[in-house]
Symmetry: C2
Subunit: 156 residues, 2 copies
């Protein structure tokens, strides 16, 4: 009957495509931990408090998507580690956007334990803002979608 959890893999919308890799309950939290330097299976498992089997599945999926890669060692032991690729580190703005949305709109902000600060000054970071090429600040209404221009062949 092929009910199959609807994949967005072939979707032409870039948001749907990113959700294909990041859209489940745990992946972004695993990446969050990885950005804090977590690398080992057991460390992910204990910090996130999740079942080992699904952690296993998620780690493999993140590796398959090129978000994590397995590295042979680091402290000399024969075990492997999971480290972020550039693609994985590129999710940082997504995590910041999620964080700022909670900080601004959560119904119980007093339950939020941490704030993201500029390391040099110890002051909160600014809200992410959308700007035009020339630097003008853009609101959602100032933007629109255009069809992607066809990539021209042979350089330019």
């Amino acid at each position: 009957m092929m009910v199959k959890r609807t994949s967005f893999e072939g979707d032409s919308c870039p948001i749907a495509r990113s959700l294909e890799a990041l859209g489940d309950w745990w992946s972004l939290l695993i990446i969050r931990e990885a950005l804090f330097g977590v690398r080992r299976f057991g460390e992910f498992q204990s910090k996130l408090g999740m079942a080992k089997n699904i952690l296993s599945v998620r780690l493999r999926a993140l590796v398959d998507h090129g978000i994590l890669e397995t590295a042979p060692a680091s402290d000399g032991s024969a075990y492997q580690e999971y480290v972020l690729t550039p693609k994985g580190r590129g999710t940082f703005p997504i995590l910041v956007a999620l964080r700022q949305w909670s900080e601004e709109f959560d119904d119980h902000p007093e339950e939020i334990a941490t704030i993201l600060v500029d390391r040099a000054k110890g002051r909160p970071v600014r809200k992410l803002e959308m700007r035009a090429e020339d630097g003008r600040l853009l609101s959602p209404a100032d933007t629109t979608l255009k069809p992607r221009p066809a990539r021209r062949r042979r350089s330019a």
Copy 2:
């Protein structure tokens, strides 16, 4: 046995808290459509191609989370509509971050159909960037987490 799909509702991490509301497969896509002006049940259903029962569940959850609200009419008919609240419109940077991540890192960028442009000039918007209070551009490594300062009572 109470296996219960682990809720992040009580979690103190703002990322986990936002995923509580947005972290499933469809919610962000529903919000994406709503940002484009989609308001009616059938319109969501046909544009997203999703099953009506789960659309029904998702819309109710988004209303419960204060992301959508039901409005009585608009074109005079007796049906209701789903419109974004300010909290719902506040997810825009999240969607932009997801979009830009795909644009930058997707393995098949040629399959991405649209680009987000500045309406006035028709030129692509800039990448979201993280800045300090004083305007310095920040990389992930330039940031750190601090415990949230206790809110002081009675104004300031």
